[in-house]
């Protein structure tokens, strides 16, 4: 994709987001001039940029939206919710188009039809459709009347078809004739590459020379081909693409008429002299037109009351008039001219310049100038950036940096293995200590680097919360409920992966609240509550974790109903039905296969329930809990790590094979004499500070051939999973390491007992255990 288009797409994203946000805020604070202005400006900027490309429907739709906003801004119209709906729909449509543009570099074929109804609706409050095509946005009319002779290279059938298509569509077509210099290869030009990059290409003809040189004269380093291209790309894009070879291309825009006339045999433009001869005079007349425009501007400025009197303004007008006169080939001396003399000079110049054709010698001058400048650009500098202090960086680059930090960590960890080897294998304790010192220094730098990169990856929670005002608005309308959304702590930062992964669970929770939790207004009033419900999204940082809370003041969860439902579905036993406390009952909603809605609603019920929320949160290394008071509301709390990039694991080994266990889960490591081990109901246990802790034999669970030696102390790693303490019998403990966890891929993707792999400093691959699954496995093995 050309850089101009990708810049446009990136910018469009930001602009559309601020339009959406502004429109939603406007519903709350109707008519706020600051907000209206903000929305208008974003739409306006977007329209301005879109005009650089040939997206006529896009520009027309944005234009309609902008006109409506302009009326609102001017106080001539009050924005009602119908208009807001139309505006939101328009920008939604545009967002869809842009996704299409991202993939195909053109608008979808249905764009015209899709936009038509919206444009009519947007224009309705303004008194109907704007008369005629939008002159302001369509750009200068560039359709020329006669086809150039090289149009003959396109086959007649295709041209006929195209003329027919052009007659019925708003799209326009440009034709490019590109004749690379014969020695272009020596100037590092690559015609084929250029042609390949032509956006929205409709037709390409590679034109061979009329006669090929004889084999003796043939020079394979000479470019003899020409290219005739038809494209829907805008002139601006094409000029940008061919900016290094402006003298070798000719761009014309033809309408259906011009093509038809060409087909019916009308003598082509510039018959005997091809491209270059036609190029120069065109520049002449255009330059003269620009010069006259400058003169006209000067005249207006000079004759408007009190605009130009003296000083800077006078000097600037004097300068512009001198420049225009120079371009017209009529140099003037205006060194000390006052306003009156300037007006006189402008009138005289305009009179002279208008009828007389421009002397050729003078008019060619700017062309040479361009060539001269073209050489200068070889040593160009990128040009200063004024006032830009925020860098927008491609996400992939940050990910790459993070990967490198990970590799650095692995290499760094290698030093500790080296230190061990120095001491154990080579018997040099001094060397070992010096390596460890080095390691300590490197470790500090690596940690700082890691923190710095992670900081770059941090995004505010507002990114995750951003979609909810719209979602809540749309859903509450459909449900006929009145809901006030409150967000708190949007500035809390978390890693972008966490933020991204948080999206779906949050949507699910919010939809659940809207659909099941919050009552209709009349029911609320009957229950003595305010008619408008309150839904709160709050985020707060808590050490290495971020806590996100979703709460509502709706009807809450009915523990009796939940228990009954769970019993009917066979999720709990009859005994549990009797004994479960209310809070335990609420927790049942997280059980797989549970759904409280009697009917699956089209909003939240999609076959995935709260169990999916819990699963995805736990996959992030987080936890989710729900509290509810029947009749008063529900409160769901997600606790997530601030960053998923680096995991600290404790390394243990069984049968010589090492495994990692997330340090967050580890409670302690203990050595227990055999005599203190006990057995309860076929389960090995150990008594720790008065608590019975079940002990699981990791070797047995993972089917590894190892058993502890007779009478040898048992090494037990105590972990805490779901609030329960469990001991793992292992062969040996090793150190804690920081690793970048890579998910299991390929065939191993289904090995649920492992949450991922990590590379250790000595090159070995560490399997990191998913404790929850391992415990499940243990239950099945036993």
């Amino acid at each position: 994709m050309n850089p101009l288009l990708s810049q446009f797409l990136a910018e469009a994203n930001d602009l559309l987001a601020s339009v959406d946000e502004g429109l939603l805020q406007l519903e709350r604070v109707p008519g706020d001039p600051e907000l209206v202005n903000e929305v208008f400006r974003a739409a306006h900027t977007f329209k301005g940029s879109s005009g650089l490309f040939d997206f006529p429907e896009l520009t027309r739709l944005t234009h309609a939206a902008e006109d409506l906003l302009d009326q609102v801004r001017g106080g001539r119209l009050a924005l009602d919710s119908g208009m807001t709906d139309d505006l939101l729909a328009a920008f939604d449509l545009i967002r869809g188009w842009l996704a299409h543009v991202t993939a195909h570099e053109r608008l979808p074929a249905s764009a015209g039809n899709d936009a038509a109804g919206l444009i009519t609706r947007l224009r309705a409050p303004l008194g109907g459709e704007e008369a005629g095509p939008t002159s302001a946005s369509a750009g200068p009319a560039r359709v020329i009347s006669a086809a150039p002779q090289w149009l003959a290279w396109f086959d007649a059938e295709w041209l006929t078809e195209t003329a027919g298509w052009l007659a019925t569509t708003a799209s326009t077509l440009r034709f490019v004739w590109y004749t690379p210099d014969t020695d272009c290869f020596f100037r590092a030009e690559d015609p084929l590459h250029l042609i390949r990059q032509v956006p929205a290409l409709d037709k390409l003809n590679v034109v061979q020379p009329q006669t090929w040189p004889t084999p003796e004269e043939y020079d394979e380093y000479a470019c003899l081909l020409s290219f005739a291209v038809a494209t829907r790309a805008a002139v601006g894009e094409l000029e940008y693409l061919f900016r290094y070879v402006p003298d070798q291309i000719e761009i014309v825009e033809l309408d259906a008429d011009a093509i038809t006339r060409h087909l019916s045999g009308e003598p082509p433009l510039h018959v005997e002299e091809p491209v270059t001869a036609a190029f120069v005079p065109m520049i002449d007349s255009e330059l003269a037109a620009d010069a006259r425009a400058v003169l006209h501007a000067a005249h207006r400025a000079l004759t408007m009351e009190g605009v130009v009197t003296e000083g800077t303004r006078l000097r600037s007008v004097r300068h512009a008039v001198t420049a225009a006169a120079g371009a017209l080939g009529v140099p003037v001396a205006l060194a000390e001219a006052g306003p009156a003399e300037l007006i006189e000079a402008v009138v005289r110049l305009a009179g002279e310049a208008a009828p007389a054709p421009v002397p050729a010698a003078v008019a060619v001058e700017p062309v040479e100038r361009r060539e001269e400048r073209a050489d200068e650009r070889r040593a160009d500098d990128p040009g200063g950036q004024v006032g830009t202090r925020v860098l927008k960086v491609d996400q992939e680059k940050v990910d790459r940096l993070m990967e490198l930090v990970g590799e650095l960590n692995v290499a760094k960890n290698g030093l500790t293995f080296l230190a061990d080897a120095a001491e154990e294998e080579f018997g040099s304790r001094v060397l070992s200590r010096r390596i460890k010192d080095q390691y300590a220094g490197l470790h500090r730098i690596a940690e700082e680097l890691q923190a710095a990169v992670m900081d770059v990856r941090m995004l505010p929670l507002s990114v995750a919360f951003g979609r909810f005002p719209r979602l809540v608005r749309d859903l509450s309308r459909r449900l006929g409920k009145t809901i006030e959304l409150v967000t708190e702590g949007e500035d809390t930062m978390a890693d972008k992966d966490v933020i991204e992964a948080l999206g779906d669970p949050l949507v699910h929770l919010v939809r659940n609240s809207l659909d099941h939790g919050i009552e209709p207004s009349d029911e609320r009033v009957a229950a003595g509550k305010a008619p408008a419900a309150r839904l709160t999204l709050a985020a707060v940082a808590d050490g290495d974790a971020v806590i996100v809370e979703v709460s509502d003041d709706g009807r809450g969860v009915d523990p009796e109903r939940v228990k009954r439902k769970a019993y009917e579905k066979g999720l709990i036993s009859e005994e549990e039905l009797e004994t479960l406390s209310d809070s335990e009952a609420v927790d049942l909603v997280f059980r797989p296969g549970f759904s409280t809605a009697d009917q699956v609603s089209d909003l939240s019920g999609r076959g995935v329930g709260m169990d999916a929320v819990r699963a995805s949160v736990e996959k992030l290394g987080g936890a989710v809990t729900m509290k509810s008071k029947f009749g008063q509301g529900t409160y769901t709390r997600l606790r997530l790590p601030l960053s998923m990039a680096v995991t600290q694991v404790m390394v243990v080994s069984v049968s010589g094979q090492r495994f990692g266990i997330p340090v967050d889960l580890v409670v302690e490591t203990v050595r227990v004499p055999v005599a203190e081990m006990g057995r309860v109901l076929h389960q090995d246990v150990v008594m720790m500070r008065g608590e019975v802790v079940p002990v699981i034999d990791l070797a047995r669970v993972l089917d590894m051939p190892w058993a502890p030696g007779e009478g040898e102390d048992r090494r037990i790693l105590v972990v805490s999973v779901n609030g329960q303490r469990i001991g793992l019998l292992v062969e040996a403990f090793h150190r804690e390491v920081d690793v970048i966890l890579k998910p299991m891929e390929g065939l191993l993707a289904y090995a649920d007992e492992f949450s991922g792999t990590a590379l250790l400093g000595d090159g070995l691959v560490l399997l990191v255990l998913n404790m929850k699954e391992v415990l499940g496995l243990a239950a099945r093995v036993a």
Partner: protein, 133 residues
């Protein structure tokens, strides 16, 4: 034929749309101008205080300080820039051009401006910059 900075005309491209800035910047850079960018009127005025430009290409509708105010400020006695100003806007209503001239612009063009036209106008307006200085 040297690319000596002193001989290259300096242009400040002022527009809040990054796409438009990139478009104008690359067209003018390719044509041999030394181009700087500013994202609104205020940045443009700040830039004009710390560096001299031979041409300003200014958008109209911008946050913080719009194009008209920006050009008026450039022309005020405190800043005192006599360098040519081309204003470029999507607005094409009667009176828009006059407002630009009133502010002190030397030319008013309607977006999108064809690449060759922008380069042509820039070349023309910076042709006699030594005399003007």
């Amino acid at each position: 034929m040297t690319s000596d900075t002193a001989t290259r005309a300096r242009v400040l491209v002022v527009d809040d749309a990054a796409t438009v800035r990139l478009y104008h910047n690359s067209l003018l850079s390719e044509a041999g101008f030394e181009v700087s960018e500013a994202a609104n009127g205020l940045e443009a005025v700040e830039a004009s205080l710390s560096a001299e430009f031979d041409l300003y290409v200014v958008d109209v509708n911008m946050p913080k300080m719009n194009g008209y105010t920006c050009v008026e400020t450039l022309r005020s006695e405190t800043v005192g820039t006599a360098a040519p100003v081309v204003m470029i806007s999507t607005e094409d209503r009667p009176g828009d051009a006059d407002r630009a001239y009133q502010a002190g612009a030397n030319l008013y063009l309607v977006k999108p401006v064809a690449g060759d036209r922008l380069v042509r106008v820039a070349t023309m307006l910076t042709a006699g910059r030594e005399e003007a200085a």
